[in-house]
Amino acid sequence: MDFGRTERDEKLRTLVADALVDPRVRDALAAVLADPRPEPDVRALYRELGRHRLLASHWPVEYGGLGASHTEAATVITELVAAGVPDMQQVLSVQIVGAFLLAAGSDEQKQRFLPAMAAGERFATVLYTEPGVGSDLASIEATAERDGEDFLLSGVKVYGLKSRMSDLALCAVRTGTGTSRYDGITLFLIDLTADGVTRSNLPTMADEQFDRVELDRVRVGPGAIVGAEGDGWPLLVQCLALERTGLDYSLRARRWYETALAGLDPDETDSALLAGVGRCGAHVDAASLMTSAVLSRMDRQVTDEVMAAMAKYITSETAQQVAVWATEVHGFGYGLRSLSPDDAAVLEAGYREAAGVTLAAGTSQIMLEIVSGSIAAAGSSQEAWPWT
């Protein structure tokens, strides 16, 4: 294994550093950071970063990227987040929908959408789950009615994010029935500004609000289907694995951990506190490594659903644990020690966000189901050390 930085890593870091001092990026970032709303609009900032090809640096150059590897692209995102760039909409648009289109989209879809997404000109999100569906995505009930070549989509999608600030959505609906409940699901890339789409808010305790998106006979053409009609389930499974690198959660874990440490005295001698600092730090480091291991495999064209589930599980559980630990360390109102007001605000928002990280993109239970299923399948035939 190689834990070091490549020359390209260094070059990309330089590109990021250069971009961050570009006055247009700097001003856009300052505007986002100064925005008093819990969910600032990042689109202008993303367009500036897109100009520097930093939004989707691992995409091919023809689609607006820099042809970086997955591990290198993670370096870029890590640096951007460290500078204060909110990552949620990049995760949705590039890391999730973009990755999906790269893997499963037609050439026409790729050419039409990816460059705009990499440029921060168009934004995409996902519309998977529904009221009462939760993690059991095979039970979705949104429907597609055929109308000539077109489809009319109807249904209610909930718990999505950023729909109000997005142009496109990858939407799972039921186009048919089959012998199993996994049959007949189709994925459409829909236009969120189309007639029949109603977007509203489901306020949550976190800063990021959930969406409720109602589809009422939304007309889409056959070109909106990603993959083949009725073949959505295996695609969904494969692409959920692609999105579960845990990168976003490991960055949150690290940010909250480092923020919590900022309020601690280096001469601290309370061993119970120090043990917590040591243990949380090790978990944060290990969670990052699990993400890097998944990205390393992706760099070798290996999509490993089990490793991805492991990374999603450990990064999100660690992030939640760190947020809760920070409440203990810094006490009531985060006021027990010498935490700055800005740092206290980060931890305060972190706690509210932390409840959701073990639920989003597949709950921890689903991740454990995937991992335990693979252990059961491998069974006793395996060597002692099967998951290295």
Partner: protein, 350 residues
């Protein structure tokens, strides 16, 4: 020994439930008159203060029931103030006036014990205070506030009336109200009791221990309320063709929570019984609080996870428990710090 449920406590609880059920979430202005109407403050208050003197065992019922509904805790602070004032004789009848409904009292600054962040320097006719302290954002404007201050080598309990409090409250960095006390002078009357000296605190009158028992009960209630929501959700919700409670990952999590809740409950009842039948046992009290706080966070996190995304929305009751867990598991110091004190007390008493 007889650890079956106490019929008196159960009767009081049922009376209280009938009063609390219609109270809107998070509305202290609506809650306070209900507590007074149902004489909740009088259960454990001494007869000198117009109460029934039924012991902290009945205070546990009140705190727990407020927690269960994630209602603002207007009881623990008021009862601590009544307890402290009564144990110093109460020449001015302040305790009776509180029990009679003068104002609720909330607590602040207990998280830094045994070393208060607030200090009191003797001056002519009283003390000059220094320091600041955050208070719970759900407390009403009409509340008084009790907080510990370091004066010489002992820790004293100060109570400010709502009127005295109003000019020194502002909004702190994370949105919590902040009481800023630098330069504020108080008279001897504002000193309502002593938590004693030393590390751990000597708690000569048992005020600290009894308050911790009530706080433990409030946390137990919070956790039990969250557990009830989770059981309801997991029983009603079907996934993959069956109620989710039938999945061991959900069912066993709820079972572990149920077991821990019962264990915490017995620990609190024991600490309350010891306090009511003699002097409070400070070890029993601090370990009941630490155990309750640690369990509350665990149970409430588990309940939140079981609720799924729906539990994160502001329309679900669940999110109120998750947010309350943070406030109330830290307002009396973190479980880790309380465990430490319990360990120190254990080693010196064994």
């Amino acid at each position: 020994m007889d650890l079956t449920a106490d019929p008196l406590a159960e009767r009081l609880r049922r009376v209280l439930v009938s009063g609390l059920t219609p109270v809107a979430d998070d509305d202290p202005e609506q809650l306070w008159p209900v507590l007074l109407d149902y004489e909740a403050l009088a259960f454990e208050a001494p007869s000198s203060a117009g109460g029934y003197g039924l012991g902290v065992t009945t205070g546990v019922v009140v705190s727990r029931e407020l927690g269960c509904r994630a209602l603002p805790d207007l009881y623990t602070g008021t009862a601590m103030a009544v307890d402290a004032i009564s144990s110093s004789g109460d020449p001015r009848g302040m305790a009776a006036s509180l029990v009679g409904g003068k104002c609720p009292v909330v607590l602040a600054g207990m998280d830094a014990l045994p070393t208060p962040r607030l200090t009191a320097r003797p001056v002519a006719g009283g003390y000059e205070l220094a320091g600041k302290v955050p208070v719970d954002s759900t407390v009403p404007a009409m509340a008084g506030c009790c907080f510990p201050v370091a004066a010489d080598d002992s820790v004293l309990l100060v109570m400010l009336t709502p009127e005295a409090l109003a000019p020194v409250v502002s909004t702190g960095p994370t949105g919590l109200p902040m009481v800023q006390l630098d330069g504020v002078t108080i008279g001897d009357d504002e000193i309502v009791g002593s938590l004693g000296t030393g590390v751990p605190l000597s708690d000569p009158d048992g005020i600290l221990s009894r308050a911790r028992i009530r706080q433990a009960a409030y946390l137990l209630g919070l956790a039990a309320g969250a557990q009830a929501l989770a059981v309801g959700h997991a029983s009603g919700r079907r996934q993959f063709g069956r109620p989710v409670i039938e999945f061991q990952s959900i069912g066993f999590t709820l079972a572990r929570s149920a077991i821990d809740l019962r264990a915490v409950h017995l620990s609190i009842e024991r600490a309350a019984w010891l306090a009511d039948t003699g002097a409070p046992d400070p070890l029993a009290a601090v370990q009941a609080l630490a155990f309750s706080a640690e369990t509350a966070m665990t149970v409430i996190r588990a309940a939140t996870q079981i609720h799924g995304a729906a539990g994160l929305t502001r329309t679900s009751a669940m999110h109120r428990y998750y947010l309350a867990a943070r406030r109330h598991t830290t307002s009396w110091a973190s479980p880790a710090r309380l465990w430490c004190e319990a360990g120190a007390r254990r080693l010196t008493t064994t």
